[in-house]
């Protein structure tokens, strides 16, 4: 949606006009973040990335500690789990499908979904994508390799496809009276596969990797995944946001656009297109913090939506 907005955006700000998003998508910037490493050191230039990987792998480790080591801290998988025998957590995306498919789940499932829902509503829907979802490891790897190999072009579906898909997932659930999407949902399938065994699910995960690498840059998470779309809708009013509060220091290196999984969200905040505060309020932003890392001028930081200062 926002993609349409900035397609013909005029260079109304003082910085020279650059087709930054296009350049980023075409992978012009092969090694973003070099400047930042020089300016702030490797560790600080990878701070949020490392934290994010720690979160993703840590959550996975909690689930795997049971079957691998017999430490049953968390049982189940991301679809529904039980922590320490008391805390139920359920994916609200699944409960939504259940409800339209005509099944009213038990209290603890609703409670679990409520807790998860409240968390993402409050802190940011797509935190799930950047900090929890295991598919992010795969699509990040594909994006990284794409940049390194200098692969250009490809055919990417519109970013709004995922919202349509989300709608149809619910329609199909209602029409078939079953959680039809779960037959193919790569997100739950990947996580479940890691914990309970894969079967042929490797094929689907490999398919996403190759799709992102060869056909559509950031194609899955950024354009198709209905689960990401669901969480994006949750995050519309959430508190944690990235701000380009030192945007006056921006030197147009385009590194942030190159690493951002949703590059279209940066422009309004960084260049003041259609807004004058420096907050990235677009719900598609995953709050991954990678733009904070790679910026040699420390333009970005993670803050709250109430902080509009520059």
């Amino acid at each position: 949606m926002s993609a349409h907005v900035n397609a013909g955006a005029a260079p109304e700000c003082q910085v020279p006009p650059t087709s930054v998003r296009g350049a980023a998508l075409r992978g012009v910037v092969a090694r973003p973040g070099r400047e930042a490493v020089e300016a702030k050191g490797w560790l600080r230039a990878h701070k949020w990335l490392l934290l994010r990987r720690a979160s993703q792998l840590g959550i996975l480790a909690l689930f795997l500690a049971g079957p691998w080591l017999g430490w049953w801290i968390v049982k189940g998988n991301l679809s529904s789990s039980l922590t320490l025998g008391v805390l139920p957590l359920t994916d609200p995306f699944l409960v939504a499908q259940q409800l339209v498919a005509g099944h009213w789940p038990y209290q603890e499932s609703l409670l679990g979904a409520g807790i998860v829902l409240a968390f993402y509503l409050l802190f940011g829907g797509r935190l799930f994508c950047a900090w929890v979802c295991p598919v992010n490891l795969v699509t990040d790897a594909a994006a990284w390799l794409r940049r390194r190999l200098g692969l250009k072009g490809g055919k990417t579906p519109a970013g709004s496809t995922r919202y349509w898909l989300l709608g149809f997932v619910l329609v199909i659930a209602a029409a078939t009276g079953s959680l039809a999407w779960e037959w193919v949902n790569p997100v739950s399938m990947f996580h479940r596969g890691l914990i309970f065994g894969f079967g042929l699910a490797w094929g689907i995960v490999g398919g996403i990797f190759l799709y992102d690498l060869l056909i559509a840059p950031r194609g899955w998470c950024g354009h198709l995944c209905p689960q990401g779309a669901f969480y994006a809708l949750l995050g519309r009013a959430s508190v944690v946001k990235v701000a380009a509060d030192k945007r006056s220091a921006c030197n147009d290196c385009m590194d942030c656009f190159a690493v951002c999984p949703e590059p279209q969200v940066i422009r309004p905040a960084l260049k003041g297109v259609g807004q004058d505060h420096p907050l990235i309020l677009d719900a598609d932003c995953t709050t991954c913090g990678r733009c904070v890392d790679v910026c040699g001028k420390d333009v970005f930081r993670i803050t709250t939506r109430f902080n509009r200062s520059e």
Partner: protein, 298 residues
């Protein structure tokens, strides 16, 4: 469908709408159509793949398959709490809906835990918590499917499936019938009773045949015929009413069987006319193998 909805207005508005708007509508139509196709594909695949193979048995308390597929979120909590590792989650390619729990009785049967931990663990109600007595479970129904290889059907006394049944003498009984092959032995046929069989699969697991079991747990829908409702079973009606609905039958004497219980038409050697002196005109064929002819006739 959506594609058509969206494309038409574009056509109508062609003259008046600015080209940007027209292109936007066209884009939306394409995107929606693509997404719709993707979802439709998933839906069709789900529908087509929702048939359960006959040897895949759902956990105790599982809702009927259609409802189960709306309820189970494929979390595996039931699998985790099954102490015997009976249950497993289907992997892609298993021919069972991806991620849903099932077991194969010949592999590991359900041990019918008294506290039914799998049902307790299920957060969604895909496994119904109104099931509190495991002997009331209906995971499937055992069927003695191969009467040619079952040892008891061959006249031996294997009985293993009967012995291992947790609901022995109710879910499975040994029915004694005459063995026409030896003509003087009984055969004890393992017979499953749907009213009590839980479908745990212990019998299938225990069957001594080297490869496939002669007794198998099948989904109830496969294992059971539908009841012929129009046919009243006289014995059931009699039991319910306390007496025969058509009144007691008149018992007419049958000539030659006066000394026997009414209805017993069996003929033994003693009942045959005795002709002691004369040799019979022909010798009755002896059963093969030289067994004694008990004279038993059905």
């Amino acid at each position: 469908m959506t594609m058509n909805d969206k494309v038409q207005p574009t056509g109508h508005a062609a003259a008046s709408a600015p080209p940007a708007r027209r292109r936007f509508l066209k884009d939306v139509a394409g995107v929606a159509g693509g997404a719709g196709l993707l979802a439709l594909g998933a839906g069709l695949y789900a529908k087509q793949a929702s048939a359960l193979p006959a040897t895949a048995i759902r956990p105790p308390g599982a809702l009927p398959e259609d409802d189960f597929l709306a309820a189970c979120v494929r979390c595996g909590l039931c699998v985790r709490d099954c102490p015997y590792k009976t249950l497993k989650l289907a992997e892609l390619g298993d021919r069972v809906a991806t991620g849903t729990p099932y077991f194969e009785a010949r592999d590991i049967p359900c041990e019918m835990c008294e506290d039914i931990p799998c049902v307790v663990a299920c957060p969604t109600g895909a496994l119904d918590r109104t099931l509190v007595d495991i002997t009331k479970a209906k995971m499937g129904l055992a069927v003695l499917i191969d009467q040619e290889n079952c040892l008891n059907f061959l006249g031996l006394r294997c009985d293993v499936c009967y012995r291992v049944c947790p609901v022995i003498d109710q879910a499975i009984t040994l029915e004694r019938i005459h063995n026409p092959r030896s003509d003087r032995h009984a055969m004890l046929l393992p017979t499953v009773h749907s009213e009590h069989c839980t479908g745990c699969g212990k019998c299938e697991k225990a069957c001594v045949l080297p490869g496939e079991s002669a007794i198998k747990v099948l989904p109830i829908k496969l294992a059971q015929g539908s009841k012929a409702e129009h046919y009243l079973r006289s014995w059931e009606e009699k039991e319910a009413a306390g007496r025969s609905l058509i009144g007691d039958q008149v018992e007419l004497p049958v000539r030659g069987l006066e000394g026997k219980a009414y209805g017993d038409t069996r003929v033994g050697p003693a009942d045959l006319p005795q002709v002691p002196d004369q040799a019979p005109a022909y010798a009755p064929a002896k059963p093969a193998g030289g067994g004694l002819d008990s004279g038993w006739k059905p």
